[in-house]
Subunit: 405 residues, 2 copies
């Protein structure tokens, strides 16, 4: 059976192979990219779902508008307004089936085969694959602890005239990095100057541990005239409420939003109205602030425990910035004292010791830094984190396993 | 902002313009393609949703496998087995976000720009647009009251070597036609002989009014050796339970299913686990047979009322086959006695008289028959149907509205 050419652009085996090993009994996993299901507000979601079926059963179970269920669009618009976004009417966002679908719709709406797209190096793995399925030629923009390096980004924009620049400015996946306020403003200026679409993917921005991060690019866009015309924002309830609802949203300039809506119509018609009505009732009930406060507090404790354990167990063999939010520690093996310096090799050894994480290599669309690794602190409790990192320390000391012939 | 080339393939204005008029007060609408929300089993869905959140809150709200929530795959496999499909393991189907997403995944997995795809003339409008977004060059295969004409289909397959043939064999949308048993077997033989993928889209097969229709192509495939290797089946709970869950499924040969799963991973990660767990609990509770019986009985009465009214109000100015299932009457204006013979003209006049339907023209990918129209009998009760068809009779008699300059 002859398949479409686009399938040859994508390679998914690296992480799939690793995930197969996670079923091994007793494994402590730092490999996931998901929130802890023990923290879901099940009572709140049950109450919201009941309210949806009681107050509006027809609408909650019938076909709905491709743009989204209007009461949810209104709640999401208010949610974003409360985070400093100005002048956002409900009609300026569409509901998507998770923010993954927002990425897919951007690919479908904007990317022709061969088009250049700039992403951070490293970036979200599923973005790389999603855009490559539309034939994008990805270009990697380097980052540091303060997010993407803007001077280099501008050079890359001038060199490649990309269809879009994709960024996770706040608590990036996998980097954990947060773009500084000054860089945020410069990026908005770049968008206007070079007439370049900037996509801000922001699933983690609400998961901060201490002070709130700088305002989103979307919130800041009111300070940079013309920037809103080039700015796309993807949001999601997955990390803050529950991934299983598959409720995300896409905010974009009107023409782009209209085209994305048309593409959505033929992708899945609309996002589950049952899930949308449930999410709308949840937000309306006002439970989100307490949920966020609880989740932040638990993740903050786990992030601290992981950072402390990494420093005490791995010492100068590992280098990382203590995360201020999000789900991930992004670390780099230094090779100090002759320890393992390749994340892929350490991942293999770690599985033997009963701990799993994702090596950093697949998160780069080009020029991978093989010394990197991503550790999620979200789903294991503090005791398990300490035990898991101790095992990681063991793995670092272990002699390499003999290679099979 | 430069958009992707693929957007130039699609035109959505015809039906959108019509649907804007549906908000007019007092309109009786036969234009929809959806079930009657008054018949949703809200109590059953509420109980199923509560069971999902009580028994498995973590799984129902967390990320899930792209292939689908395993208990739902098991229930759907049993549901299909009860309808005569042999040897269907849960692993041979994936859950999709409505069957619209199954079409999108087939497009993504199989269609390169310029590829030929054969569809029925007329066929489901969103299939035309969905495949065109992947650059498909659509070829129209003629149908009659017994579905697609197989001799002509074989000629078209030989002439065009299509990537796939897309059929709605049972109570087609918009045609209402059902492929005869003999033609079903011949199509399975054609698939093997010409090594051609056949897609069977089957959202309406359970909505029969009298005798059950012939078995699905999928159920018959066990009688035609080798045909299962070329057969794809799309199913959906939208028309029989509730569209708002967005639960459909895709059954395909293993390699195709694996590629479609990979494409789904980057389209929306997975279908709402909340909706999937609710659907699984609903099927497990055994409520579907009673729900189907109730829905069939109500739609049968409405279909009969519409057929009777059309005959008495429009007489020989309209020609149609009385539907034996599904949601639609597909009719043709004969022009007898000098009456309107163009479905688009009648649609405009009908709105003036307070009744809406969809003209048949946009359902053809080529060589449209402008005399056709689609009338849904699903959402209006018998009284409204009689009143609406009486208005349609008025519209047929009305002098043409003066053209605006």
């Amino acid at each position: 059976m002859p398949f479409a050419q686009r399938l040859t652009q994508v390679e998914t085996s690296a992480i799939r192979e690793l995930f197969k090993l996670l079923g091994k009994p007793g494994i402590i996993s730092f490999a996931g990219g998901f929130p802890d299901s023990a923290m879901f507000d099940v009572d709140g979601i049950r109450a919201a779902s009941e309210a949806a079926l009681r107050e509006e059963p027809g609408a909650a179970l019938q076909y709905g508008a491709t743009e989204g269920y209007q009461p949810l669009r209104e709640q999401l618009s208010a949610f974003m307004t409360a985070k400093g976004v100005q002048g956002l009417a409900p009609e300026q966002l569409i509901v998507t089936t998770g923010s993954q679908q927002a990425l897919d719709l951007l690919g479908k709406t904007l990317i022709d085969p061969g088009d250049k797209v700039i992403v951070e190096g490293p970036t979200f793995l599923a973005t790389i694959q999603c855009f490559r399925l539309y034939g994008a030629d990805l270009v990697s923009a380097p980052i540091d602890a303060h997010g993407v390096q803007v001077d280099q980004l501008e050079q890359l924009i001038e060199q490649h005239a990309p269809k879009l620049v994709y960024l996770i400015p706040t608590f990036g996946n996998p980097s954990g990095a947060t773009l500084s306020l000054e860089r945020r403003k410069r990026i908005l200026e770049l968008a206007v100057k070079h007439r370049t679409v900037i996509v801000e993917d922001d699933p983690y921005g609400d998961l901060y541990f201490g002070e709130a991060p700088p305002p989103s690019l979307l919130a800041l866009s009111s300070e940079v005239p013309g920037s809103r015309d080039w700015l796309v924002h993807c949001g999601s309830l997955s990390k803050v409420l529950a991934p299983g609802l598959r409720v995300g949203w896409l905010i974009a300039p009107p023409e782009l939003l209209a085209h994305a809506t048309m593409c959505k119509q033929f992708s899945d018609a609309h996002t589950s109205t049952f899930a949308q009505a449930t999410a709308a009732q949840y937000l309306k009930a006002g439970r989100m602030p307490a949920t966020l406060a609880r989740v932040r507090e638990v993740y903050a404790r786990r992030a601290q425990a992981m950072g402390d354990a990494l420093r005490s167990e791995l010492g100068d063999a590992i280098d990382f910035v203590q995360p201020q939010g999000g789900l991930f520690v992004w670390a780099r093996l230094t090779g100090a004292g002759g320890a393992v310096a390749d994340g892929r090799e350490l991942a293999r050894r770690a599985i033997e010791q009963g701990v799993a994480f994702v090596p950093g290599t697949p998160f780069f669309c080009a020029q991978p830094d093989h010394a990197t690794l991503r550790l999620s602190f979200a789903t294991a409790d503090v005791e398990k984190i300490r035990e898991g990192i101790a095992r990681l320390g063991q793995a670092l000391q272990t002699a390499p396993a003999p290679q099979e012939a």
